[in-house]
Protein backbone atom coordinates (compact mmCIF):
# COMPACT_ATOMS: atom_id res chain seq x y z
CA UNK A 1 0.00 0.00 0.00
CA UNK A 2 2.77 2.42 0.99
CA UNK A 3 4.64 1.54 -2.20
CA UNK A 4 1.64 2.36 -4.40
CA UNK A 5 1.26 5.81 -2.80
CA UNK A 6 5.02 6.28 -3.20
CA UNK A 7 4.86 5.35 -6.89
CA UNK A 8 2.05 7.86 -7.49
CA UNK A 9 4.00 10.62 -5.71
CA UNK A 10 7.17 9.80 -7.71
CA UNK A 11 5.24 10.05 -11.00
CA UNK A 12 3.76 13.39 -9.87
CA UNK A 13 7.26 14.69 -9.08
CA UNK A 14 8.56 13.50 -12.44
CA UNK A 15 5.67 15.34 -14.13
CA UNK A 16 6.74 18.54 -12.37
CA UNK A 17 10.27 17.92 -13.74
CA UNK A 18 8.83 17.45 -17.25
CA UNK A 19 6.91 20.73 -16.84
CA UNK A 20 10.16 22.49 -15.97
CA UNK A 21 12.02 20.97 -18.92
CA UNK A 22 9.20 21.79 -21.36
CA UNK A 23 9.16 25.34 -20.02
CA UNK A 24 12.93 25.53 -20.62
CA UNK A 25 12.34 24.49 -24.24
CA UNK A 26 9.22 26.53 -25.04
CA UNK A 27 9.24 29.73 -22.98
CA UNK A 28 10.89 32.85 -24.39
CA UNK A 29 13.26 34.47 -21.88
CA UNK A 30 15.54 33.81 -18.91
CA UNK A 31 13.06 34.91 -16.22
CA UNK A 32 10.32 32.48 -17.26
CA UNK A 33 13.02 29.78 -17.34
CA UNK A 34 14.14 30.56 -13.78
CA UNK A 35 10.53 30.49 -12.62
CA UNK A 36 10.04 27.00 -14.06
CA UNK A 37 13.39 25.67 -12.79
CA UNK A 38 12.78 26.95 -9.26
CA UNK A 39 9.51 25.05 -9.14
CA UNK A 40 10.91 21.87 -10.71
CA UNK A 41 13.92 21.84 -8.41
CA UNK A 42 11.91 22.61 -5.28
CA UNK A 43 8.53 20.90 -5.57
CA UNK A 44 9.52 18.15 -8.02
CA UNK A 45 12.58 16.98 -6.10
CA UNK A 46 10.69 17.12 -2.79
CA UNK A 47 7.90 14.93 -4.22
CA UNK A 48 10.44 12.42 -5.58
CA UNK A 49 12.27 12.24 -2.23
CA UNK A 50 8.99 11.65 -0.36
CA UNK A 51 8.09 8.88 -2.84
CA UNK A 52 11.51 7.26 -2.38
CA UNK A 53 11.04 7.45 1.41
CA UNK A 54 7.68 5.67 1.16
CA UNK A 55 9.33 2.84 -0.80
CA UNK A 56 11.78 2.15 2.04
CA UNK A 57 10.30 3.59 5.23
CA UNK A 58 12.61 3.51 8.28
CA UNK A 59 13.02 6.08 11.06
CA UNK A 60 16.55 7.08 10.01
CA UNK A 61 15.43 7.50 6.40
CA UNK A 62 12.53 9.66 7.58
CA UNK A 63 14.88 11.96 9.52
CA UNK A 64 17.14 12.41 6.48
CA UNK A 65 14.12 12.97 4.23
CA UNK A 66 12.78 15.73 6.50
CA UNK A 67 16.23 17.38 6.34
CA UNK A 68 16.26 17.13 2.53
CA UNK A 69 12.73 18.54 2.18
CA UNK A 70 13.43 21.53 4.42
CA UNK A 71 16.82 22.30 2.86
CA UNK A 72 15.61 21.82 -0.70
CA UNK A 73 12.49 24.00 -0.40
CA UNK A 74 14.56 26.86 1.04
CA UNK A 75 17.74 26.58 -1.06
CA UNK A 76 16.00 25.99 -4.40
CA UNK A 77 13.92 29.15 -4.00
CA UNK A 78 16.85 31.25 -2.74
CA UNK A 79 19.08 29.95 -5.56
CA UNK A 80 16.42 30.80 -8.14
CA UNK A 81 16.12 34.33 -6.78
CA UNK A 82 19.91 34.75 -6.89
CA UNK A 83 20.01 33.52 -10.51
CA UNK A 84 17.15 35.84 -11.51
CA UNK A 85 18.85 38.82 -9.90
CA UNK A 86 22.14 37.99 -11.63
CA UNK A 87 20.39 37.57 -14.97
CA UNK A 88 18.80 41.01 -14.53
CA UNK A 89 22.12 42.61 -13.53
CA UNK A 90 23.86 40.92 -16.48
CA UNK A 91 21.29 42.59 -18.77
CA UNK A 92 19.40 39.53 -19.94
CA UNK A 93 16.51 40.74 -22.11
CA UNK A 94 12.81 40.42 -21.18
CA UNK A 95 10.78 39.22 -24.17
CA UNK A 96 7.06 39.82 -24.88
CA UNK A 97 6.79 41.83 -21.69
CA UNK A 98 3.44 43.54 -20.99
CA UNK A 99 4.34 45.58 -17.90
CA UNK A 100 7.67 46.28 -16.17
CA UNK A 101 7.62 48.36 -13.02
CA UNK A 102 11.15 47.33 -11.99
CA UNK A 103 12.60 49.14 -15.02
CA UNK A 104 10.42 52.20 -14.26
CA UNK A 105 11.63 52.33 -10.64
CA UNK A 106 15.29 51.64 -11.48
CA UNK A 107 15.20 54.43 -14.04
CA UNK A 108 13.62 56.80 -11.51
CA UNK A 109 16.31 55.96 -8.95
CA UNK A 110 19.16 56.47 -11.43
CA UNK A 111 17.78 59.83 -12.51
Amino acid sequence: MLEIIGAVIIVLGALVFVTGALALLRFPDAYTHVSAVGTAGGIGLVLIVVGVLLHDFTVSNAVVAVLIVTAQLLTSAVGSMALARSAYLAGSPLRRVTFNELEDDAGARRA
Binding site: A14, L22, L25, G44, H55, T75, L83
Partner: protein, 85 residues
Protein backbone atom coordinates in the same frame (compact mmCIF):
# COMPACT_ATOMS: atom_id res chain seq x y z
CA UNK B 1 8.49 -0.48 -8.89
CA UNK B 2 6.81 0.48 -12.17
CA UNK B 3 6.34 3.99 -10.80
CA UNK B 4 10.10 4.28 -10.23
CA UNK B 5 10.81 3.20 -13.83
CA UNK B 6 8.30 5.73 -15.19
CA UNK B 7 9.93 8.39 -13.02
CA UNK B 8 13.41 7.53 -14.31
CA UNK B 9 12.22 7.74 -17.94
CA UNK B 10 10.46 11.11 -17.41
CA UNK B 11 13.35 12.67 -15.49
CA UNK B 12 15.77 11.33 -18.14
CA UNK B 13 13.76 13.00 -20.90
CA UNK B 14 13.76 16.23 -18.87
CA UNK B 15 17.56 15.96 -18.52
CA UNK B 16 18.06 15.43 -22.27
CA UNK B 17 15.95 18.47 -23.20
CA UNK B 18 17.82 20.48 -20.55
CA UNK B 19 21.13 19.58 -22.20
CA UNK B 20 19.67 20.70 -25.55
CA UNK B 21 18.77 24.08 -24.03
CA UNK B 22 22.25 24.28 -22.47
CA UNK B 23 23.88 23.80 -25.89
CA UNK B 24 21.60 26.12 -27.87
CA UNK B 25 20.68 28.70 -25.20
CA UNK B 26 21.14 32.11 -26.76
CA UNK B 27 22.53 33.92 -23.70
CA UNK B 28 24.81 33.09 -20.78
CA UNK B 29 21.91 33.41 -18.34
CA UNK B 30 19.92 30.67 -20.07
CA UNK B 31 22.94 28.34 -20.05
CA UNK B 32 23.46 28.91 -16.33
CA UNK B 33 19.77 28.22 -15.62
CA UNK B 34 19.92 25.02 -17.68
CA UNK B 35 22.98 23.97 -15.68
CA UNK B 36 21.04 24.47 -12.47
CA UNK B 37 18.15 22.37 -13.80
CA UNK B 38 20.57 19.63 -14.92
CA UNK B 39 21.92 19.38 -11.36
CA UNK B 40 18.37 18.87 -10.04
CA UNK B 41 17.76 16.17 -12.67
CA UNK B 42 20.94 14.36 -11.57
CA UNK B 43 19.84 14.51 -7.91
CA UNK B 44 16.40 13.10 -8.78
CA UNK B 45 18.14 10.31 -10.76
CA UNK B 46 20.32 9.52 -7.70
CA UNK B 47 17.22 9.13 -5.52
CA UNK B 48 15.34 7.02 -8.07
CA UNK B 49 18.26 4.70 -8.85
CA UNK B 50 18.74 4.32 -5.11
CA UNK B 51 15.31 2.66 -4.96
CA UNK B 52 15.75 0.69 -8.19
CA UNK B 53 19.12 -0.82 -7.20
CA UNK B 54 18.25 -1.03 -3.47
CA UNK B 55 21.18 1.12 -2.36
CA UNK B 56 21.23 1.38 1.47
CA UNK B 57 22.27 5.04 1.90
CA UNK B 58 20.78 6.75 -1.16
CA UNK B 59 19.00 9.48 0.80
CA UNK B 60 22.19 10.60 2.56
CA UNK B 61 23.83 11.03 -0.86
CA UNK B 62 20.79 13.02 -2.03
CA UNK B 63 21.11 15.31 1.02
CA UNK B 64 24.78 16.06 0.27
CA UNK B 65 24.04 16.56 -3.43
CA UNK B 66 21.14 18.94 -2.68
CA UNK B 67 23.37 21.12 -0.51
CA UNK B 68 26.09 21.06 -3.20
CA UNK B 69 23.48 22.12 -5.78
CA UNK B 70 22.78 25.25 -3.75
CA UNK B 71 26.51 26.11 -3.69
CA UNK B 72 26.80 25.58 -7.45
CA UNK B 73 23.73 27.74 -8.08
CA UNK B 74 25.20 30.60 -6.06
CA UNK B 75 28.54 30.19 -7.85
CA UNK B 76 26.78 30.30 -11.24
CA UNK B 77 24.85 33.42 -10.19
CA UNK B 78 28.09 35.09 -9.14
CA UNK B 79 29.81 34.06 -12.38
CA UNK B 80 26.94 35.54 -14.45
CA UNK B 81 27.64 39.02 -13.11
CA UNK B 82 31.41 38.51 -13.50
CA UNK B 83 31.96 38.76 -9.75
CA UNK B 84 30.15 42.04 -9.27
CA UNK B 85 27.45 41.99 -6.61
Amino acid sequence: MIGVVIGIVLVGLAGVSTVYRMVTGPTDAERAIAGDMLMFCVIAMLALFGVLLDTPSALEIVLIAALLAFLSTIALARALTRGRR
